[in-house]
Symmetry: C2
Subunit: 347 residues, 2 copies
DNA sequence: CTGTTAGCGCATTCAC
DNA sequence: GTGAATGCGCTAACAG
């Protein structure tokens, strides 16, 4: 029972057939007699046979390894955990398995794990790039015809598919929403200017201000770490200004949390004394601060869509050099004070 | 460049050496001339060679696949996400990659993913078992000499290593703590009685009650879903009792959250009008409700320890049939009202 | 329908 | 030091 690995030849012997017959039942080929099939299956169960995919896709023409790589920049952030869950769902039901790695925003780590994944013969990759990732990083992948889907953060000029939330429209809508509530001095708080996401959301902010007929004041944009602490810091600086804002759209919900913290520390009630809106990057936010308007994108469905897209490309065989950008729906939830307005959907 | 896969033979040709020479440099053998080595490396870079681990460990004696499987019962729960991050850390730096799968508490899913992982030749497995997992489920693994480390939830009589928090001592200490605060009617809220964790924590609760000189009242144990909603439900039922409790230790922090919700809905202030303690299963809790005493275990370090244990066993070669149970440190954080007491460590 | 014959890409003896 | 064989477990063509 413990004498080495049991192989097709063992079970062939036990079932009194030949190896290739076994191979056929393994692949569920209809070319095999029902009686033989069950005999083979019985033998497999008997001997505790386990299929060796390594050997299989060594022989197979290309890398139908049934494994897809997933790398995220911060698994600690529930958004990405949820995303991974979404990916896992469709990946599992398609009979694939998921290589999941966390880069913690380290570009070196990212290179390492991707290299490692390649060595293991992944047949596709879903990646939420670490900061400072360049398009060139995925060059070898596409050259090897390995489909890549970039999520959450768009990548400058990479020839890969991508799924990102509609940052610009979302933020813009948030600003318009605040304007419709009567706010005029609306700040943009949090986030570091070195990411595409920041730029997109900032652009949306400017769009929204424009659309509402307000002029752009650079001072109203105060950047900080995209975290709770960062938010507290940002609101602190905003409130130190001579002409204080009365509302803010935050880079993400972690920042929005921090902003709420900061407001309360100043004896102000978020949503009443100061309106705050944030992108739902950290899903936990949805439950933790109901009195907060947020722009949200469901990470799980985003993950599912990414996986679906990837599988489609894998099955298609040829990786289309075209970059497919799919926007996800954004929804503004209203829950401060009044009745919950049914989510307004966009894009 | 895109003509199939580039193999050792290709780069051997390009470097003007033989395949086995290439193989030697691949393994960093000192038996190869420095000049040749660099020539080979150059050729590898030139042709974009990627090492094929599948082929490699097909040849190698057994499954030194450099891949370890991680399966958790709920990746949506930040605790497990953090755990996975901890695992990933040590796994990555040991040159392994991580197969991560989420079972969503489905025993069938769990069987599937573990089977799938076996097919891919994992050299070890870390698993937080889904509910209703039986010891027998890991029988084939240990029979195949694949080390298994069970985390978070202990498994009845499985011959595998495990790392669990010291549930009993932790809960017991929590009860004693509440007793020292003057509470006498202390409830145990939340959780389903069908898990070992529940039993352990309940046992700790009873220990604590005993130690404090209180008799056990079954009515003070009200079970519910181990979630926020479940907590709200549980406190509702507790407050409906004729002789209300004045404090509670909760199955986990999600429940504790719900309990706080329920208290506030009844115009009571958690920590002041009613003391509540919960296990930190969901890490997010630590930041979201500071005014809550919790019994916590750091999921990341737990993940790291699990990975270390697993790697040790993998390197040891022979999987010890002995079950190694390692308790992690528990710490009670005090933050309701008074100054933060430095964490009291146990076990 | 089933058995036979070749390799997939690599690592491991051995000779040279 | 390096090159020529051999086989890991499996699938792909063919042959029976």
């Amino acid at each position: 029972m413990s004498k080495g690995r049991v192989t097709v030849i063992d079970i062939a012997k036990a079932a009194g057939v030949s190896k290739s017959t076994v191979s056929l039942v393994l692949q569920g080929s209809p070319l095999v007699n029902e009686g033989t099939r069950s005999k083979v299956n019985a033998a497999m169960r008997e001997l505790g046979y386990v299929y060796n995919r390594g050997a299989a896709n060594l022989r197979q023409t290309s890398a139908k390894s049934k494994i897809i790589g997933v790398v995220v920049n911060d698994l600690t952030n529930s958004f990405f955990a949820e995303l991974a869950v979404g990916v896992d769902m469709v990946v599992q039901s398609a009979g694939f398995v998921q290589f999941l790695s966390n880069t913690s925003e380290s570009i070196d780590r990212q290179r390492e794990v991707i290299a490692s994944m390649r060595e293991h013969g992944i047949s596709g990759l879903i990646v939420s790039p670490a900061r400072a990732t360049e398009a060139a990083d995925f060059k070898p992948l596409v050259a090897a015809d390995i489909p890549v889907v970039v999520v959450v953060r768009s990548l400058p000029g990479a020839k890969v598919s991508s799924i990102v939330s509609d940052n610009q429209d979302g933020t813009s809508a948030a600003v318009e929403h605040l304007a419709s509530l009567g706010h005029a001095r609306i700040a943009f708080l949090g986030g570091f200017p070195d990411t595409a996401v920041f730029e997109e959301r900032l652009a949306g902010y400017m769009d929204g201000m424009n659309a509402a007929g307000f002029s752009f004041h650079e001072e109203l944009v105060v950047s900080s770490a995209p975290s709770r602490a960062g938010g507290a810091d940002a609101i602190g600086r905003a409130m130190a200004m001579s002409n204080r804002p009365t509302a803010a759209v935050c880079f993400n919900d972690a920042v929005a949390f921090g902003v709420c913290d900061g407001l309360r520390a100043r004896h102000m009630e978020p949503g009443r004394d100061f309106a705050v809106v944030g992108f739902d990057d950290v899903i936990e936010a949805q439950t933790a601060v109901p009195a907060l308007t947020t722009i949200s994108v469901d990470p799980q469905s985003m993950g599912r869509r990414a996986a679906q897209l990837l599988l489609k490309q894998i099955n298609a065989g040829k990786a289309e050099p075209e970059s497919v950008t799919t926007a996800v729906r954004l929804v503004i939830r209203e829950s401060c004070g009044a009745a919950q307005k049914t989510g307004r959907k966009m894009a």
